[in-house]
């Protein structure tokens, strides 16, 4: 368990929920990240030059 010192009150409930939703969203994130890496490798094999780094900002996605 991580106990934290901050100048704003992080909120006990707001901390507790992160342990739960973080796990779910972390799994999704890791899976997405893996897929991106695999797709990136496949593209490289095909000789494509679109070697864009993975991003987690949907606004930046084309």
């Amino acid at each position: 368990m991580f106990e934290f010192f901050a100048y704003i009150d992080p909120g006990t409930g707001s901390f507790a929920i992160q342990a739960v939703i973080g796990t779910i969203m972390g799994v999704t994130y890791a899976a997405r990240h893996r897929i991106r890496v695999i797709v990136g490798k496949l593209r490289k094999k095909k000789g494509s030059d679109s070697d864009t780094p993975p991003t987690n900002n949907p606004e930046n996605k084309s």
């Binding site: 704003i8 909120g11 409930g13 973080g22 994130y29 987690n56």
Partner: protein, 456 residues
């Protein structure tokens, strides 16, 4: 040397902003040393400032009381105007939210995190959102949850969701809840459509329930969140915010371009007159009151002026901001201001968030197609309008819209005309008490008259 602490800068134990000789400085206490040094040494400062996401600063040496004993004093790039989230359009708040999340994402790559996510720490620089609090970073420790998660949801996600799913006018809740909209209140207001969105159901509804179930625990916040989980949460927040849209029909949008009541020729002539008047006074800072979508703000910006483009209508401000963003018009700052009830002094000692009147400083105020809304729709005596405008700027470019004009006729159609003073002569007499009329020009094709005035 005398210096004065900024009245809104009291929360952070690691430092604060103070004023000296009209310049804002930030003091960094010794307990802020580690995080500040890592910000500067890790390359994060360089990367964020290069992208315009963080305010640039230089280190300063000062002798004043506020500088004494500090680890460092920094002088950030000075801002012409501080604005508050309740003065922004939907897309401004959304872009500020996305900028905050992006800063947090990049910070993590450099072993740092955002220790707050206050919308008040974001300001508009060259048309883009920028973090102005250099002390917002802390060293990231593996396993720690995001300290600012609650604040982010209250300051950004909750108001954006209510604006998107209910009404853009709900932004004004931020005037009452200056630390953001409490999540239990936001959760109660969420319509079913919003509850079905996984991100909103989680970050607002479930989050509110967790807050409720832990509120009497009396324990300090404690939890463990892996780095991947934290990144996943940030990615999900980013996606959730990105999906939020302002629900506006095509016809509502169209109105912002076709709703002028006089001919295109007159509109163009008004631009020419405005430009001539502006050139005569060489204004660096312009305050466009009742700017609508900012057509006349653009006339001023083309002359190189910094323009605050204020309007009462959230959709007009939105249209204005979207255009600023598309065209990179960094000199124009669209702002949501109701002149009949401008932002008041709020917060501790009524001095934490200053009134619009207190902050607005300009060389010239523009008041085009506005006077009838104030004098007739809001019953304001013309002299009171003149008195208020004179507080805002030493010069005034104002258009008088007479009773023969269709817009005024429309306002008077449903009510008794109790405005015998509302005539060109009455207007000139009232404004002459506060201003000297320098020039006046009739707008051809309409009964309107444009004036350039100088404060007495």
């Amino acid at each position: 040397m005398t210096s004065q602490r900024e009245s809104s800068s009291f929360r952070d134990n690691r430092g604060y902003v103070f004023w000296q000789d009209g310049t804002a400085y930030r003091r960094i206490n010794s307990d802020g040393k580690v995080a500040y040094d890592q910000l500067m040494a890790s390359g994060l400062y360089e990367q964020l400032t290069k992208r315009g996401l963080l305010v640039k600063h230089e280190e300063a040496t000062l002798e004043s009381d506020d500088a004494k004993g500090a680890y460092k004093v920094i002088k950030p790039t000075q801002l012409p105007l501080i604005t508050y989230p309740y003065e922004w359009s939907f897309s401004q708040l959304k872009d500020a939210a996305l900028a905050t999340l992006e800063i947090q994402r990049v910070a993590l790559e450099h072993g740092l995190v955002l220790r707050d996510a206050s919308a008040y720490n974001i300001q508009w620089v060259d048309g883009k959102p920028q973090l102005i609090d250099t002390l917002s970073f802390d060293v990231y420790i593996n396993g720690e949850p995001w300290v600012a998660y609650r604040q982010f949801c209250q300051h950004f996600l909750a108001p954006l969701t209510l604006m998107s799913h209910i009404d853009p006018g709900l932004l004004q809740l931020l005037r009452v809840y200056i630390d953001g909209i409490p999540l239990p209140i936001a959760a109660k207001m969420l319509p079913t459509r919003a509850r079905l969105d996984f991100g909103l159901a989680t970050h607002i509804s479930l989050h509110a329930r967790y807050q409720k179930s832990h509120e009497d625990s009396g324990r300090r916040a404690a939890a463990s969140v892996s780095t991947v989980s934290l990144k996943g949460m940030l990615e999900n927040l980013t996606r959730t915010v990105s999906k939020l849209k302002l629900r506006v029909s095509e016809t509502q949008w169209g109105d912002y371009y076709n709703n002028t009541n006089y001919s295109d020729a007159s509109f163009q002539e008004k631009k020419v007159i405005t430009e001539e008047f502006l050139k005569g006074i060489k204004a660096d800072r312009v305050l466009d009151l009742g700017a609508n979508d900012g057509s006349f703000s653009r006339v001023a910006a083309r002359l190189g002026a910094n323009v605050v483009s204020a309007d009462i209508d959230p959709l007009a401000v939105e249209a204005n901001y979207v255009r600023v963003r598309e065209r990179g018009e960094g000199l124009i700052l669209p702002l949501l201001i109701d002149l009949t009830n401008p932002s008041p002094d709020l917060g501790w000692d009524n001095a934490e968030r200053r009134s619009f009147t207190h902050r607005a400083k300009a060389d010239v105020a523009l008041s085009l197609a506005l006077i009838h809304h104030l004098a007739i729709a809001n019953n304001l005596p013309l002299e009171m309008v003149a008195e208020y405008f004179a507080k805002l700027a030493p010069h005034l470019i104002i258009e008088f819209v007479p009773k023969e004009d269709s817009q005024v006729k429309r306002l008077l159609a449903t009510r008794e005309d109790i405005f015998p003073e509302y005539t060109p002569d009455g207007f000139e007499a009232a404004f002459s008490k506060h201003y000297k009329i320098v020039q006046q020009r009739e707008v051809k094709g309409s009964a309107r008259v444009m004036y350039l005035m100088e404060r007495r």
